[in-house]
Symmetry: C2
Subunit: 355 residues, 2 copies
């Protein structure tokens, strides 16, 4: 049984294509009562991008705070705000920002048509009704959120995405110019999310030629961005992110993502930097990848935070181990079916203690 | 202005995934009156594949003859047959075969919902109504027809496709096993259609990073298939074809395709072999590509037909030149805006006379 993979059906790519957003949204405006909501990372408040938003008179500009990664409670609150904004539902939800903003836009578009709290839908294929048309405009490359079928949310009980075919964006607007103002450290951490994802999937046991073709080209593009100097590195990283996301169709991440979830769960570490912190201690699983990752760190003058775990309470470290080892498919992809005999609790703990 | 590219929204890839076709079609069967039509290359009549077609009681099996490339007259005739088969329209049109069969399936799915002859819709965005759901099952890799937004048809007045977003398949089923019985020469010619397409687009003037990423990986896969020995070369060529088709979003073919259209128009030469015959005389435009192409020919023991043009009537050769030089965008992509001063009628004629 192979997965029937749902792709984003409309893609526009090019420097400056953000200026075509108004025309793209126009097709969703059915009549004079139609309106759309721009779910926008509040880092752009007062910035150039705010002035360029193609807001019409009845539209809603919803600033979102992504200091913390998206929570179900926050999604529920935002969905109510959108519902209260007008007597009819919006014709489209446009997510503008990085992975968190895009995941919030996906979540809102789903929760506008599916009753109850978003916590009810954390899992696989629990969403019942199609979403409101949702469009992504990534301003940060590497997350793959622009093509994924999940919106990752932290709920009261679990960190688990709204995974469904309805979650996939209806349209993505890929304008590399929008990513050029990202600070260097964030550019690096998010780019490495993509790089590490590719290493884990290409060295995993789950691969087929579809995912391999996408993963290999994504890796090649990451190398061009982080090891060479290209005037069009923003274009390349945007494509690396898109290809990395596409490669997940028939592949899976591995040890680094699993351990980083433990770290994030306990310390609230953001995903990109969490992957970097973890990957740096995984020589024994991904020798060549870790070596190359360190060259990229050097070239970008990145210093990783160290000594995050050793001084934690014993039960916090145990929680990290439990969260990390709960991700069976990731470990099976990395180490094979026999993974439990290799990645014991002691082994996982010893890795965390280095971080 | 960038093109907003319509992608095939559902893709399943894997050895043996053809056996999931029934389940995929099932979603289109709304009630007990629903039926679907299998537009199938008649080369499979009496073959194993015929037995594996998931035909339900009310379904139609429509064998198609692709000895000649698809004509508007043939499409109109087939559409009438499908309309006459039942009092209601089919719920889905499934195209099984190579580029011609897939293009016939696309055309029928469009003509079932758009009145009049298919000749009315040869061109760009002339189709008015969405097509019947259409699904492709390629049994030959390299054409890119599985992802393209055109169905190439020869009409009484012109050879021109039904180009529209509605032309794009709703679903593709990529099962590399189905391509393994293709004869070696056809495998080579169709694979080279993909290879040459990549060379023309990557060396052209129209490229951006989206098309470049897809084109480069497609080329890499073609090299693995035709220069190395891989047990999974069928998987690789299927991905090369998919990536080659995707790369066309923001690119264009070039001199080889333009000249080959002239050859095909006058001699009826099939597309893949026509590209090969032409490419072999284009050292001066694609030096490295032609050299590599010849290595691939040697490795696959392919002997191209020679001396096709010299003995033709003068007016036939002039027609070839006229058809080839009519394709402005292809020449501009290859030679830049000044192409008319480089590719004169005399120059084009001298190239044809070598073939």
């Amino acid at each position: 049984m192979f997965r029937n993979f749902k792709l984003v059906p409309n893609v526009i790519f090019g420097r400056g294509c953000f200026s075509q957003l108004d025309e793209i949204i126009e097709k969703q405006r059915a009549d004079s009562d139609s309106w759309v909501v721009f779910v926008t990372d509040d880092v752009f408040k007062g910035k150039e991008l705010e002035k360029r938003l193609p807001l019409h008179k009845k539209d809603m500009l919803l600033w979102v705070d992504v200091t913390d990664e998206p929570k179900t409670e926050y999604v529920d609150k935002l969905t109510i705000e959108v519902k209260k904004f007008a007597s009819n539902l919006p014709s489209a939800v446009i997510g503008i920002g990085g992975g968190s903003s895009m995941d919030l836009a996906k979540s809102i578009s789903l929760m506008l048509t599916n009753a109850g709290s978003s916590t009810l839908y954390q899992g696989w294929d629990l969403i019942k009704n199609p979403a409101i048309c949702h469009i992504a405009v990534p301003t940060l490359s590497g997350t793959g959120a622009e093509v994924s079928r999940t919106a990752v949310l932290t709920g009261p009980e679990k960190k688990l995405g709204l995974n469904s075919d309805y979650t996939v964006f209806d349209q993505i607007v890929l304008d590399p110019e929008l990513t050029e103002t990202v600070p260097m450290d964030q550019h690096f951490y998010t780019g490495m999310d993509c790089y590490i994802h590719c290493i884990e999937s290409l060295e995993g046991t789950f691969l087929n030629e579809f995912s391999k073709s996408y993963g290999e080209k994504s890796l090649d593009l990451c190398r061009q961005v982080f090891l060479d100097d290209h005037p069009d590195s923003a274009d390349k990283l945007m494509m690396a992110s898109f290809f990395g996301g596409m490669s997940i169709a028939y592949s899976q991440v591995g040890a680094c993502h699993a351990l980083s979830y433990g770290l994030s769960y306990v310390l609230g570490t953001h995903h990109g930097i969490g992957c970097c912190i973890t990957f740096d201690y995984l020589d024994e699983f991904y020798a060549d990848g870790v070596k190359e990752f360190r060259s990229m760190m050097n070239k970008c003058n990145i210093e990783l935070p160290r000594g995050l775990v050793a001084d934690l309470e014993e039960d916090q470290i145990e929680t990290m181990v439990t969260v990390a080892l709960g991700l069976d498919p990731l470990w099976e992809n990395c180490l094979g079916k026999d993974w439990k005999n290799i990645m014991t609790r002691d082994k996982a703990k010893s890795l965390f203690l280095k971080m």
